[in-house]
Amino acid sequence: APLQSQPQVRVTFPGELVSSISDDELAESYLERFGYISKRSRSNTHVSISKALLQMQKKLGLNETGELDQSTMEAMKTPRCGVPDVGN
């Protein structure tokens, strides 16, 4: 181990997909991609997102809070199959 800690340098690596979108935007994109909300109904209203979140949480066996909590966010970041969960 180094005797004294050195200041950590953080580098922006070229070509890396640095996520600049917020958790809310990520969640909406996820819910739309996997069929929980349709493009038409994506109106950024809290009510429709909450309903879709509930549906997703139920489908994936998560705590049904209707909120974008930590376990729901983690689930959305877990590698998965690209086939939608709802609809065709």
């Binding site: 690596f13 070509g15 890396e16 489908k59 590698p79 998965r80 690209g82």
Partner: protein, 570 residues
């Protein structure tokens, strides 16, 4: 479990699949084996069967691709989406696509299958010891030719077992060069290239020419990934270069410096500061077997399950000892019924069984309430009723089909004209009734017959033998020779399933360096073939009533029925 709207399912149970391309992450044999095992997950619990074909349109077409790969659903780089598949139906329906921006493994890190060396294609064991030092990746240490190698046991110093690692200096895959290695430098579009390149392609796959001038010869192949190939970044597939310079410091291994997510990375040139070329170092990767088993679930009609431990749950998680969940089993059996399970047994006759030692039986039920009558059938009177022949070989320009003391002759000049059955004992009195394989030596016209551990050599009506296989230099652990293949210049390959020998016909001894693994030299055919023979310059591997035809360039170009496609039965 869930099924697709309208319970989409196949209208037949004998499903075909075709692998359109391969990932550079894994050896083609390992990919095919993962797919075979993934299909078996479903065929074990349903009446579905899955047969691989090598040309034409299969029910399930399998491909690797990244980003936009030809359908309306692009992949998204490393992690995130791993694969997708379509429900049963025509065209793209039923197909399965795998994201090649993922690192495909068997779930526990890089799988490096070796070639050549003395380990019969075994996988590398990391870390391994060589000259007292420990190695965690393939190395060229100890060699002067720069080829990468690894030990296939943990201690090379003790066991001396090794093989060569994937490298474009050894072979390519796909393309049109039959696996030839890259030739460097090569010319492409007037430019000279010293390494594999992605230039000229939009799919990101690395390729090279297999002659020194692609513009002239148009010969190319894809470069297999080295075990140190990076994932993602801006150099996908390129190997790490050690040592490399980063912020003026030298690194001899992957590092997480410069990042706050602890992920290991490396540079793919010797100086990151000047070139800024980098990628993530190989991690555990995703199990191709598990992901494929999930996708094939979609391909046969299952939607995502809400049961967290079910295979059809949409999220990936690695399971070491996989067992299909009851929810998945209920799903597939809802669509197709239960089938006969993994080891179907023959139906039991309801009356006392007749002597079936040399015959098969057909069960005829005259009415639902009467006793079942068992009628013996002798299939050996009609070649078209023989399910699988003991041996097939070409003698004096005619194909000979051997079965239980009889044989038939078929002329390739007159398709459909079958002569026989003839008695083996009338033509070759010294032979037993079961012939495992036979071949005619093209130079001397001697005919060699093999049965169990014995063989006979006929020259006209003169016979030599029987003699034991040990006279040929074949070990006592070999029960029989099931196939033979003339290779010209007095050499013949002898097969016993997963191994083959090269016989020098003149000295009647097998050559040094044999046996070798059948699957290494003849990829894509069943290793438990019960017959191998040469016909019209193509190699034929038989299993049950089917044959796999391999061209002289060792590419399987056809799978068909012996009965219909070779014997031309109606």
């Amino acid at each position: 479990f869930q099924t697709f709207e309208g319970d989409l399912k196949w209208d037949h149970n004998d499903i075909t699949y075709r692998v359109l391309n391969y990932s550079p992450d894994l050896d083609g044999d390992i990919i095919e084996d993962a797919f075979r095992r993934a299909f078996k997950v479903w065929s074990d619990v349903s009446p579905l069967t899955f047969t691989q074909i090598y040309s034409g349109e299969a029910d399930i077409m399998i491909l690797f691709g990244s980003d936009d790969h030809g359908d309306p659903y692009p992949f998204d780089g490393k992690d995130g989406l791993l694969a997708h598949a379509y429900p049963p139906g025509e065209g793209v329906q039923g197909d399965a696509h795998f994201d090649d921006d993922e690192f495909w493994t068997l779930g526990t890190g890089v799988v490096v299958k070796t070639r050549f060396g003395n380990a019969n294609g075994a996988v590398c064991q990391f870390p391994f010891k060589f000259n007292g030092r420990s190695y965690s990746s393939c190395t060229s240490e100890g060699r002067t030719d720069g080829l990468l190698w690894c030990s296939t046991t943990t201690d090379y110093d003790k066991d001396k077992k090794y093989g060569f690692c994937p490298s474009e200096l050894l072979y390519t895959y796909g393309g049109n060069s039959d696996g030839d290695k890259c030739v460097f430098p090569f010319i492409f579009d007037g430019e000279s290239y010293d390494a594999c390149t992605k230039e000229g392609r939009s799919d990101g796959y690395r390729w090279c020419a297999t002659t020194d001038n692609f513009d002239k010869d148009k010969k190319y192949g894809f470069c297999p990934n080295r075990d140190t190939a990076v994932i993602g970044g801006n150099s996908q597939g390129d190997p790490c270069v050690f040592p490399f310079v980063f912020l003026e410091k030298t690194y001899n291994s992957c590092t997480s410096n410069g990042r706050d997510d602890r992920r290991l990375w490396c540079a793919t040139t010797s100086n990151y500061d000047t070139d800024r070329k980098w990628g993530f170092c190989p991690d555990q990767g995703y199990s191709l077997f598990l992901v494929a088993a999930h996708e094939f679930g979609h391909a046969i009609g299952l939607e995502h399950s809400t049961v967290r431990d079910a295979l059809m749950y949409p999220m990936y998680s690695y399971i070491e000892d996989f067992q299909l969940h009851s929810d998945d089993i209920e799903g597939v059996q809802y669509l197709y019924g239960s089938g006969t399970g993994p080891h179907p047994s023959p139906p039991m006759p309801t009356t006392e069984s007749p002597d079936v030692s040399d015959k098969t039986t057909t069960t005829v039920t005259t009415s639902p309430t009467t006793t079942t009558e068992v009628v013996p059938v002798d299939p050996t009177t009609d070649a078209c009723k023989v399910k699988a022949f003991d041996a097939i070989t070409e003698i004096e320009g005619q194909l000979h089909f051997f079965k239980d003391g009889k044989y038939w002759k078929a002329s390739s000049a007159r398709p459909g004209a079958i002569k026989g059955p003839l008695k083996i004992s009338d033509t070759w009195p010294a032979l037993p009734s079961v012939i495992d394989t036979a071949f005619e030596d093209l130079l001397t016209k001697k005919i060699f017959f093999f049965s169990g551990r014995r063989f006979w050599v006929y020259t006209g009506t003169t016979v030599l033998g029987p003699r034991g296989l040990e006279k040929l230099g074949i070990g006592k652990d070999v029960e029989k020779i099931v196939g033979s293949l003339q290779r010209g210049r007095g050499k013949v390959l002898l097969f016993n399933g997963d191994k083959y020998w090269r016989l020098d016909v003149k000295t009647q001894v097998v050559d040094k360096g044999y046996p070798r693994d059948t699957e290494d030299a003849f990829a894509g055919v069943p290793i438990n073939a019960h017959d191998v023979f040469l016909y019209k310059e193509n190699i034929h591997f038989c299993k049950d009533q089917f044959y796999w035809r391999m061209t002289p360039r060792r590419q399987v170009d056809q799978v068909g029925y012996v009965k219909y496609d070779i014997l031309n039965c109606p």
